[in-house]
Amino acid sequence: MFQPERFSINHGKYSAAVEVISVAGQTIYRVVFSNNMQMLILTRATNSNAGRFWTSVPEGRQELAEEVGALIESNIRQKA
């Protein structure tokens, strides 16, 4: 019943466990890295041109958010 749906992602520099959680009615991705990097929370957002992008919540780790978001997206597509 309660997901978190869970999966792991691997990047050359790190690997991480990802949990998909619904919080306050919205989907977030909780990313726990296997090294000492601080946990990252991501969500999908919409920019002013109606394009979708990955962003960290809170702000401040956008580059990593886009990198990890792309890995998550690729994982989700593989499963679909």
Binding site: M1, F2, P4, I21, S22, V23, A24, G25, Q26, I28, R30, M39, I41, T43, A45, T46, N47, S48, N49, F53, T55, S56, V57, P58, E59, G60, R61, Q62, A65
Partner: protein
């Protein structure tokens, strides 16, 4: 137009992301393993979205506080709550022992005038847990007489469910507001039932355990239109002991880096698990 993380977003998207940020800042459980604590900490709770077959995960304060000022026990302020939870002396010097509303006995949930009755009928929830701790009391024998000593030696145990990272405990919730400051919290109590074979040996002082629910029972507890009889039936159900994973942990587990790490005590008898 505004910017979030350097991306141009609409006002409404900006507000949504900022609201999400605020919501997450209040959810301590996202930064820690999900676990039931001993203090009045935060629980991760699955709460039904009213009118929908859907739920959200929210954070609640463990320790049920009644929200209706007209019904006992109602505590007006956070200070009153703290006094109630830790015990206090009144102006006349009379000591009032602590009262805790952490756990609600499944057998008594629906008794008339029971504190938890309304919540059990209307606000059932699921406490998400990855494991919990209980103390086993062992009474060493007097070396001369062979009689058990009066003071027990206590050994902490970690209890989880085999092959499950998360499981559900039956719970009930209630909203409470501090009448002075306006602080508003959702609070919960964990339902307990009679201990099963393994928990009788671990929590041997009280012989109780949380009501741990299977996926099907959890669904029914949260979404079912249940009769009083069925509520009591689920609230007093016992998870099979064979599904539990139980082992001792270090006595300083509360402050340990890995509280749930297995620990071996030379002098501790094994549990009887056959």
């Amino acid at each position: 137009m505004c910017y979030y993380n350097g991306q141009k977003v609409t006002h409404s998207e900006f507000i949504r992301l900022k609201n999400l940020e605020k919501a997450l800042a209040n959810y301590d459980f996202l930064n820690m393993p999900v676990q039931s604590g001993f203090d009045y900490g935060a629980n991760a709770v699955l709460k039904r979205i009213p009118g929908k077959m859907d739920f959200e995960i929210v954070q609640m304060e463990w320790g049920f506080l009644r929200g209706n000022p007209k019904k006992w026990p109602f505590f007006k302020t956070r200070e009153d709550v703290s006094k109630m939870r830790s015990g206090y002396k009144d102006e006349k010097g009379k000591f009032h022992p602590s009262i805790n509303f952490l756990n609600a006995m499944g057998e008594e949930l629906l008794l008339p005038d029971k504190v938890y009755r309304d919540a059990a009928l209307n606000r059932r929830c699921l406490i998400l847990s990855s494991g919990f701790f209980e103390w086993r009391h062992i009474f060493p024998k007097n070396k001369r007489t062979g009689e058990p000593l009066k003071t027990a030696v206590k050994y902490p145990y970690h209890i989880g469910m085999r092959d499950k990272e998360y499981f559900y405990m039956a719970g009930i919730s209630e909203e409470w507001t501090d009448l002075n400051t306006g602080e508003h919290v959702e609070t919960d109590a964990i339902i307990t039932t009679a201990a099963n074979k393994v928990m009788e040996q671990v929590h041997n002082s009280k012989k109780r355990m949380p009501t741990i629910l299977s996926e099907d029972l959890a669904w029914e507890w949260l979404f079912g239109n249940l009769s009083e009889e069925r509520i009591t039936e689920i609230a007093t159900s016992q998870v099979p002991w064979e599904e539990m994973e139980v082992y001792p942990v270090a006595k300083d587990f509360k402050t340990a880096l890995e509280p749930a790490a297995r620990f071996t005590y030379e002098d501790l008898e094994e549990l009887e698990l056959t």
